[in-house]
Symmetry: C2
Subunit: 157 residues, 2 copies
Amino acid sequence: MPEPADTVRFRQWLAVAAEEARAGLDEGGVPIGAALIGRDGAVLGRGRNRRVQDGDPSAHAETAAFRAAGRQRGYTGTTMVTTLSPCWFCSGLVRQFGISRVVVGESRTFTGGHGWLAEHGVAVTVLDDPDCAAMMAEFVRDRPDLWNEDIGAATDG
Amino acid sequence: MPEPADTVRFRQWLAVAAEEARAGLDEGGVPIGAALIGRDGAVLGRGRNRRVQDGDPSAHAETAAFRAAGRQRGYTGTTMVTTLSPCWFCSGLVRQFGISRVVVGESRTFTGGHGWLAEHGVAVTVLDDPDCAAMMAEFVRDRPDLWNEDIGAATDG
């Protein structure tokens, strides 16, 4: 379990991700945000789901944040903070590149690969943030078509 | 095991991926190529690793091909063909979006998540193509720095 001092830091980082998510919602997109945090606590990159905005199905929030950070020599000591439990794609990103820690806003509306990451040595903290959960629950209710498309769960048509 | 007729098709698709890989090599990039093939056999999207060319560490070949295909309602019946065994990031992509089949050029120089995908119901064929293996082996020998960076195995500096 993280120390209380860690939780304060994690919540500050989550605020960056949540700001991205809200910006995405305002743009008519999928409201998921993320940031890659350096070992010194600085934001290396931040991003949001851009499926709708860019017509890019690979622009999940975590992948967008990772992309925004540009080429890095390594990821030891970095943290991926995300408003929602990372899907298999973004979990694979964390595992492949050796990102040390994942901080998850909530995993009520969707449970991705954060448990798998913990099994493979990634430090995982789920903050269970009610604001993140409420924003996502509302989106899933209002736009099930878009949400299912975003996680590959749409009925093929 | 695939039927001989499938293997002919798979090799035709691999030729598209290999063409992408060779173009990447000519650009000074990581020589890995991929294509997403529709259920009717048409190329939905093709791409190559663009870490060097675009400074984009998320532009692995499979992810680039997926991106190039744009938004799709679903991926049932599609095939991801790639010159090299997909890393965890790109394997996660295949699993999350329900891509039905993966055709791998070779897995000698790098073994990613294709076994994990097979365990989770993805049809996997490894063609063990000597040309793909030779191109990749040469690249790994000549540019170990770039290769390790691309798979998150660089020594942090």
